[in-house]
């Protein structure tokens, strides 16, 4: 038995949902969705839960993460109720529920919170620069270590507890008792989906889908390997030609692909780009800025003009810190993590069901 919460519609609209209350439950969205199956059917069910405000049912569901937003449902909705955008908003809402700090929800709902965060970071960096007496070597050295520390602490302090919360809501609380063996056998799915986004290829079969997947794929690979190159191969101080060229290629991939992403959001030709939220803009723009500023920093180093243009490194560092402290733990970056874990959990639930039936 669930109690109806008529105020949920307004809450979810603050996370970006548009007009979903127009839904008259025809189910066209579910029928047309290439990813929806008899066992895991969406988005109509999620639209219905949102209308009725059944928060517990949404919180325990992995379905919002199973959608890759091809936009077919929104295009074909006879009521223009935007089921696709609702699924996107539910993902945002879910990340705010998984996040123990509550900052995610604050940032999604208030653009001002983002801006305050960004400004605080700029102020902090200026303070740090002054304290360091604008000593380039020291700042770059600390900047390099910042990356390692940031990755580690963000993961341990924020992302890991959030993933455990997600696991609690979707597996433990609904009473799914899967043996460890199932976790181990399903683990390959986590890696597969995290690095390839293979499932998105099952969306509407078209060149557009495949190209979108390819862009996303090389972006993920580019991003992760640039992270590795800068942190572990110390790209900015490296003397190895291989490492230097590798870094150039990776950062170029990032800013070229994200530039295309920004363009698509401006042009709004696909359903998925029509309703960009601040979190969407910040994600693509900051990724673009990171790529291009990293590229430029290395270029300036190679051209030996870095000494006179140290502001560039400071700009790169600003973007990096804002990215690592705000967007990665509380912004859209988490979708990358939660989605792959959702796929992993879904696999566990499915395998566990098979096991239970066998018994």
């Amino acid at each position: 038995m669930s109690h109806i919460n008529p105020n949920f519609a307004e809450e979810i609209k603050r996370f970006g949902a548009v007009d979903f209350d127009l839904c008259f439950n025809c189910g066209t969205c579910t029928a047309i969705c290439a990813l929806s199956t008899n066992d895991e059917s969406f988005p109509r069910e999620m639209v219905r839960y949102s209308t009725l405000g059944l928060e517990d049912d949404i919180k325990s569901s992995l379905k919002p993460w199973l959608c890759y937003y091809c936009g077919e449902c929104t295009t074909d909705c006879p009521r223009q109720a935007n089921p696709g955008e609702l699924m996107m908003s539910l993902r945002r809402w879910l990340t705010s529920k998984y996040d123990w700090t509550g900052l995610s929800g604050l940032l999604y709902k208030h653009l001002a919170a983002y801006i305050v965060g960004f400004v605080l970071i700029i102020a902090g960096l200026l303070f740090f620069g002054t304290r360091m007496g604008w000593n380039q070597d020291r700042i770059m050295h600390i900047g390099h270590y910042f990356e390692m520390v940031a990755i580690g602490s963000v993961f341990v302090v924020i992302l890991l507890p959030n993933l455990i919360r997600m696991w609690y809501y979707t597996i433990l609380k609904p009473g799914i008792k899967a043996p460890l063996k199932v976790y181990i056998t399903s683990f390959s799915d986590l890696l597969l989906h995290m690095f390839t986004q293979k499932r998105s290829l099952d969306c509407e079969h078209s060149f557009n889908t495949k190209f979108k997947w390819f862009e996303h794929f090389i972006l993920v690979i580019g991003y992760l390997s640039l992270l590795f190159t800068t942190v572990f191969l110390d790209w900015f101080s490296s003397q190895s030609t291989f490492v230097i060229v590798l870094g150039y290629v990776e950062s170029a991939i990032i800013f070229v692909v994200t530039f295309h992403f920004v363009l698509k959001r401006i042009r709004k030709t696909d359903a998925l780009h029509k309703f960009s939220q601040p979190s969407d803009w910040f994600f693509v723009i900051w990724l673009f800025l990171m790529g291009i500023s990293a590229f430029a920093v290395r270029l300036f180093i190679d051209l030996n003009i870095m000494q006179n243009n140290f502001w560039l490194y400071m700009a790169h560092l600003t973007v990096l810190v804002q990215w690592a402290v705000i967007i990665v733990p509380f912004g859209k970056w988490t979708h990358f993590l939660y989605r792959s874990f959702a796929m992993f959990f879904a696999k566990i639930i499915e395998q566990n069901r098979v096991l239970t039936v066998k018994r």
Binding site: H3, P6, E10, R48
Partner: protein, 656 residues
């Protein structure tokens, strides 16, 4: 017995003659008893043939004619006109239908069609030989109308009838006019207030000198028939006698009143009907208040007292969905921050009312669908309604909700005193207990009693505009009678043989039109037929134990002679050249069609192929193959024979 009969058999330009051997029939009919002239004609209905028949009647002094052509529905009046113009009584003409009943129905068996036509025409000749000349009846009709019920339908119809020049007596049982609309509040889609609409109508009515309005008036005894009804009306205890030509009944409906405890009704004052809720909304300003407490959530429960598959009212009242949603929107417009739940079975906001539904969804109203088998349960907890409902759109998930108010959206039921009216005016009552029209589509405002019309919601649930439309159509029907000043019914009515009749009342019992009454005649009681109300339906004739009743134009003599005529065996020679219509069984020739068609046909041979396969065999593009195969299919050279195994293409085959 008629001795000089003319028979005309029509070719209908081939429609008949392609199958029925009309020439031979023409020759054969000339030999029948009493037939003076028998012809086959190309088009019996054409001007020249009509003139030819007129001439024949005059020259050959024909006393009866038979036209064997199409359905009497099409040309009875045409040939009656021919008879009248030639000085023959129109009832001495008989129409025989050899097109719809012979050539069209039996085009596959031309010989049998001819034999059947032979029998039918012979039956027609026999009948017309026994036909009588009938004189038409004319009855004077009063140019006055009684409109019963001064709701919006009655008011509007009275106004129109008066404008068309009729004296109108408007009879209302309440002390004020306006009925349900008076208290309906804001109306969709004009946004006017019901009260204003009624006041405006009353102003217009007061300007008309030929409308007399009686309030506090009840209907008493009614007698007479179409054109002349005599009715007693009791106005404030005073008896008034009216003499009118027709009656328009617009007595309206009652709202279903929920039973004790039905969805918590009468268990708490927070459960109320939609009408009471509308009054509450109308009376509140600034904030929606109920008994001094603010109302923030409202649950509307639909289909209350309607669509009960096992209960009294099986029908849907069709306007309540719109009414409830309209009320909900009024609430949103007037008060901020009110949440609405609509617990419905099906939403029926037809036509542009759909806009209201969309608007309400947009405003965030939550629609919860339940099934009749599992209706919502309303409990009163701490003085507030608490609802449990199984939502069919969330796989029957059990949901609970609190509501400050529960609004029961009740349907329409017939007026509690409608049986009284129906007894006085002899209006039949349908399965749903509303007044019954003759036919919902063909005669939507007429009752089986001539001159008594029904309009508005007394004949079934309707919204305001539908009520007014039906009442106005009743007004138009009434005006078509009163305008002429007289009625000319067909003389095809029942006749009583006064010598035989001994008044046993059997005929009066079966008569649906109240046309039989006993009267005294030469010292005994006999049945008398009121020819202005008799429709000649014939139901009285077979029930008469002494066979004292017969129907003019359908006398026993006529009918029996027809049977004799039809039953006699026909002696017909097969036509030399029987037109072949069925397919020849041979594949059609492709000569004269595009060359590519012959290539395709050659390639297909006996095989079953899809379009891409055909394209491959003939070495043309899929596009070209599609176009040609489709056209060949259209011309009947190729046929589609179902999907292929992969269900990706259709299979085609050459037609043999």
């Amino acid at each position: 017995m008629k001795q000089r009969i003319g028979v005309y058999i029509c070719h209908c330009g081939g429609n008949i003659s392609d199958y029925v051997d009309v020439q031979q029939l023409g020759k054969l009919m000339a030999k029948e008893d009493g037939v003076v002239i028998s012809k086959d004609v190309m088009f019996a209905c054409s001007d020249s043939t009509q003139k030819e028949i007129e001439q024949d009647i005059k020259e050959k002094q024909l006393d009866a004619i038979v036209v064997a052509s199409c359905s009497p529905k099409l040309h009875t009046h045409t040939f009656r006109g021919v008879a009248i113009r030639a000085g023959l009584n129109p009832y001495n003409y008989t129409q025989v239908n050899v097109r719809e009943q012979c050539s069209w129905a039996h085009s596959d068996r031309p010989m049998d069609a001819t034999i059947k036509a032979y029998g039918l025409i012979r039956a027609g000749i026999n009948r017309v030989a026994h036909s009588e000349a009938l004189e038409s009846i004319e009855i004077e009709a009063q140019k006055a109308v009684a409109v019963i019920g001064a709701g919006i339908a009655g008011l509007r119809a009275a106004l129109d009838l008066a404008r068309m020049g009729n004296q109108v007596y408007l009879i209302e049982k309440e002390d004020k006019v306006g009925g349900r609309v008076l208290t309906a509040g804001k109306l969709f889609s004009s946004g006017e207030n019901g009260k204003d609409v009624i006041e405006q109508l009353v102003r217009q009515i007061k300007q008309m000198t030929n409308i007399q309005l009686f309030t506090n008036a009840t209907l008493g005894k009614v007698s007479g028939s179409v054109g002349n009804y005599y009715m007693d009306v009791n106005v404030n205890g005073e008896l008034l006698k009216l003499h009118v030509g027709s009656v328009l009944v617009t007595t309206g409906f009652d709202f279903y009143s929920p039973g004790e405890g039905e969805y918590g009704f009468n268990m708490s004052d927070r459960v109320m009907s939609l009408q009471d809720f509308n009054m509450l909304v109308e009376g509140s300003n600034g904030q929606l208040m109920h008994n001094g407490q603010p109302v923030k959530t409202i649950a509307y429960i639909y289909c209350v007292g309607n669509r009960q598959s096992k209960g009294e009212n099986k029908y849907c009242s069709r306007q309540c969905c719109t009414a409830a949603i309209h009320s909900s929107l009024n609430v949103h417009e007037k008060f901020k921050g009110v949440k609405a739940f609509h617990l419905y079975r099906d939403i029926r906001t037809y036509g542009k009312h759909e806009l209201l539904y969309e608007e309400s969804s947009r405003k965030g109203d939550i629609y919860i669908r339940f099934d009749e088998k599992e209706p919502p349960v309303v409990e009163i907890k701490n003085g507030k309604p608490f609802i449990t409902v199984k939502d069919y759109l969330t796989s029957k998930k059990e949901l609970t909700l609190d509501a400050d108010l529960v609004v029961l959206v009740t349907g329409m039921v017939p007026r509690s005193d409608s049986t009284q009216i129906s007894e006085l005016l002899k209006i039949p009552i349908g399965n749903d207990k509303f007044f019954n029209e003759v036919h919902p589509k063909l005669k939507p405002v007429e009752t089986v009693i001539k001159g008594i019309y029904i309009g508005g919601a007394c004949q079934g649930p309707k919204n305001i505009s539908e009520s007014v439309q039906s009442a106005l159509s009743g007004a138009a029907k009434i005006n078509s009678i009163s305008r002429k000043g007289s009625i000319k019914p067909e003389p095809i009515v029942a006749r009583v043989d006064a010598d035989i009749c001994a008044w046993c009342n059997k005929c009066a019992e079966v008569c649906e039109f109240d046309a039989v009454k006993p009267i005294e005649s030469s010292g005994k009681m006999i049945a008398e037929i009121n020819i202005s109300t008799c429709t000649g339906c014939g139901i009285c004739a077979p029930v008469c134990p002494v066979n004292a009743i017969e129907i003019a134009y359908f006398t026993d003599n006529e009918i029996e002679s027809m049977i004799d005529g039809f039953a006699e065996p026909a002696d017909i020679a097969p036509r030399e050249e029987v037109k072949e219509t069925a397919s020849t069984g041979q594949s059609k020739s492709l000569a004269g069609y595009p060359k590519i068609w012959r290539t395709i046909a050659g390639a297909m041979d006996d095989k079953t192929l899809t379009i891409p396969e055909i394209a491959g065999l003939v070495n043309i593009s899929n596009h070209e193959a599609t176009w040609n195969v489709m056209t060949m299919n259209r011309y009947g050279f190729i046929e589609a024979v179902g999907l292929n195994d992969d269900e990706t293409h259709y299979n085609y085959k050459l037609k043999r």
